[in-house]
Amino acid sequence: MAFPIFLPATRIARLVPVTATTPEARTPDTSVARPDRPFEKPASAVSTRSPASRLAVLVTIVGTALVMTSCTLPAWGAKHGATLQGHDTFKLWQGLVLAAIIVGAIVYGLILWSVFRYRRKSDAIPRQFHEHTALEVIWTAIPLLIVLVVFFFTVKTENNVDALAPHPAVTIKVTAFQWGWKFAYEHDGVTVLGETLQNPEMVLPVGEAARIVLVSADVVHGFYVDAFDFSRYAQPGVTNRFDLTVRHAGVYQGQCSDFCGLYHTEMLFRVAAVPPAQFRAWLASTRHYESIHHTYIT
């Protein structure tokens, strides 16, 4: 690719003293939760008065609402979301997995029950029943209500995750290319650039909204940080914008997620979240360095 690559390799480590290296926080940090998230409100949007399905709907709504407000559910194997946005996703995940487990338990239970209970005991021909309209209506209506409830919470979380802060603390233009990343702090005159295993590092302020403007210089790539529970495609001809508000200082591993050719496997990067003061000091010193050496940080 046409990007000039220079490697002051050890420099970044000195500039960014890392405060915490665990990529994910075990205890969700509620102190930074945004007050403007009406997330805890129980669901009252869905209503039905059909007596046959009322109970199931009640269970679903109460269950899902409980789940949505609770932080004590298991993680079900997922990362807790090191950004505010990712943490919202994580909470949705916790609730939806619980709902899936409940539904799964019921259906698995029914399958296994019929398999074990009705195994052949004689050559008698069982009663030949064909259908049961009321039952069929019920098992159409209940799943429909469940998915509508799930959809309701999905849309809420999705709006939070995709929301753009009116005044982000920093805007970073991320250009993906075969096979590496360029992080340009355009307002601050700083650029970080690195190919494959050089692991270029994006520096972000903790607790402040960072706007990412994502583009691709060639093929489709994916900007993916697993600890953030988030990914977005970098595509030629498309400019994607999203915010990352990192909750905890630390260094997070990132990787190209969409297959982009021969060295896709090695298209790695890191995100270092540092306290805001330290972030601004890094910007200033790096700008100074770049102005003297006419080269980019890797």
Binding site: R120, P143, R232
Partner: protein, 598 residues
């Protein structure tokens, strides 16, 4: 026009082929010559089936190499380039050249005419053309490995502009595109054939609401093929034009729109998911009733659920594009969620079919139950993926790999091989050994969970798909080892199947017409069926005429006494040849009510 049968005392009538077989069949070609020249739907169907199974084995071996590469971090068993070719060809062979052709080329080709009492497909020569296009596609796509640059290496979805000539200049890529255009046409022709056959060649009495569910799913699948495959073919031709004629449809530099590729591709791609699933749903709907000794529960509900799934499946394609940032998330999310409803209906109906039955756990039944257990897991993770924020978190990770393998292996492999064990006696006249079949099932079943559950965990821990290796420090080694061990189990289970085929070939055990106490029409004729399938037909008064014949006391709708003019009730060679005349079919279909009217 009516062809009515007397019921023989012993249950099933014997078609007595020697007496009725028209003279020109005496000189039927055999062996290789038959294979090459035949337009018989059963021969073409078998060609399709065995070709697709060879493709399956080849793609399975590629999967095992992939799993071998991933068993250790920083492994160098294959190079990056080889790895990229392997997963591309594994996915492409499995999806384009195995799963679909196995269903609508293999099973549907043989079964649809048998199930509706037709002598052949509506367009036998078009059917043959389908197969030869398909075989050409297989050879051309695999031929990519012989080119200098190797086979296609941009993933089975071939996202533009990576698949353009700038980034993927090789001949292997061109051969991949051409192969898909050819098999795409073959699929379209098969779709046309299926629709025409099902609409026009049904036997007397076989009204639409008496058509067996497998044939119903093939009808809807045929519709979906006609909707989706032209778009795929067009997209491939556009890609080819981009690569060779500078069309710049998908390149920014030439004023094109790369993301258009994703829209076109998935506009085919999601219906394709159901083109691959519905036929296998249909097979399960045939197997469960037989081994529960009951009718399918909610026959009409199943049909409407199938139609609803097909209709919805045309408006969910962008759930594969949630992370592109250019699609309307709530719409595609809601549509995707809605598909869970008719799919749920199917599940409950399958459970209702087993409910209070007398279940016998033959090999096909085990595979069908295996399908239920495996598909449910993949379906539930699919509901999670329909939520855009969750998709953002796990898109293009092993979570998605686990999800789509669970649904695909459940349908194509579990239900598909259930169907294979179920209908093999009908296709060949020989039984498969049940001990080996059960060993096949259990090993596959255990391997399935071992392979894919760790992949969910890997995806949640951030392992992206399509990466040729991973760093030791990420803690992914153990889960990958378990997954690879499961894959070996899955692979080895097919050895039992091959041995089973071998034994049934060397030591045949005759199957008889109706080895399973079957219900639908195909169990009435001989195994294997004679040319043009039926010498006579039983009365068709429900979706399970053979069962009705064996158990007249359970007939759902009691028919008025039928008065038959003398001479019709005892069909001689005249009736048989009427059926075998292809052009007699059109009028028979429209008279389908006459069987009960009398």
């Amino acid at each position: 026009m009516t062809i009515l049968q007397e019921r023989t005392e012993s249950g099933l009538p014997h078609p007595e082929p020697a007496r009725h077989e028209p003279a020109h069949h005496a000189a039927r070609p055999s062996g290789f010559y038959e294979w090459v020249t035949s337009t018989d739907h059963k021969v073409i169907g078998k060609n399709y089936m065995y070709t697709s199974l060879v493709v399956f084995i080849a793609a399975g071996i590629m999967a095992l190499i992939i799993r071998a590469q991933l068993v250790q971090p920083n492994n160098t068993l294959v190079t990056f380039q080889q790895y990229n070719e392997l997963f591309t060809m594994h996915g492409s062979l499995m999806l384009y050249l195995f799963a679909g052709p196995f269903a609508f080329g293999g099973f549907a080709n043989i079964l649809v005419p048998l199930q509706i009492g037709a002598p052949d497909m509506a367009f036998p020569r078009l059917n043959a053309l389908s197969y030869w296009l398909y075989l050409s596609g297989v050879l051309i796509m695999c031929g990519g490995f012989l080119t200098v640059g190797g086979a296609a290496d941009f993933g089975w979805v071939s996202y533009a502009p990576l698949s353009g000539s700038l980034y993927s200049p090789g001949t292997g890529a061109d051969m991949w595109i051409i192969a898909i255009v050819l098999t795409g046409f073959s699929a379209i022709f098969t779709g046309v054939n299926l629709l025409t056959t099902i609409f026009y060649l049904r036997a007397p009495g076989m009204t639409m609401f008496r058509v067996p569910l497998f044939t119903w799913t093939m009808l809807i699948t045929g519709l979906l093929i006609l909707l989706a495959f032209p778009v795929l073919g067009a997209a491939m031709i556009m890609l080819f034009a981009d690569r060779h004629f500078g069309a710049h449809i998908f390149t920014v530099a030439g004023g094109g729109v790369p993301v258009l590729w994703q829209n076109l591709f998935w506009f085919w791609g999601h219906p394709e998911v159901y083109i691959l699933a519905l036929p296998f749903f249909g097979m399960v709907s045939e197997i469960l009733p037989v081994f529960s000794k009951k009718p399918i529960f909610g026959y009409k509900g199943m049909i409407f659920a199938t139609i609803a799934i097909a209709a919805l499946s045309t408006s969910v394609w962008a759930h594969h594009m949630f992370t592109t940032g250019v699609v309307l998330l709530p719409f595609f999310s809601l549509m995707s969620y809605m598909i869970a409803v008719p799919t749920g209906i199917k599940f409950f109906n399958w459970i209702g079919t087993m409910w209070r039955g007398q279940l016998s756990f033959t090999v096909p039944m085990l595979f069908a139950i295996g399908f239920l257990l495996c598909f449910l897991s993949g379906g539930l993770s699919g509901i999670l993926l329909a939520s855009p924020p969750i998709d953002f978190a796990v898109h293009d990770t092993y979570f998605v790999v686990a999800h789509f393998h669970q649904v695909l292996v459940a349908t194509v492999v579990f239900a598909g091989f259930g169907g294979f064990y179920f209908w093999y006696p009908k296709f060949t006249g020989r039984m498969l050994r049940s001990g080996l079949g059960k060993a096949h099932f259990w090993m596959l079943f255990v391997g399935f969970w071992l392979t894919y559950i760790p992949m969910y965990a890997l995806g949640l821990d951030g392992m992206p798909r399509r990466e040729a290796t991973y760093a030791a420090g990420r803690g992914w080694t153990m889960l990958n080892e378990i997954s690879s061990a499961g894959a070996v189990l899955m692979g080895l289970s097919f050895v039992f199947w091959l041995i089973n085929l071998w034994i049934s070939w060397r030591n045949p055990v005759a199957a008889g017409n109706d080895p399973w106490d079957g219900q639908s029409l195909e169990w009435y004729t001989t195994s294997p069926p004679p040319p043009h399938n039926y010498y006579k037909l039983p009365p068709i008064r429900s979706e399970r005429p053979v069962w009705d014949m064996k158990h007249p006391e359970h007939l759902k709708v009691h028919q008025p006494e039928i008065h038959v003019p003398a001479g019709v009730a005892s069909p001689g060679p005249g009736a048989a040849s009427a059926i075998s005349m292809p052009d007699a079919g059109g009028s028979r279909g429209s008279n389908s009510e006459s069987g009960e009217g009398g």
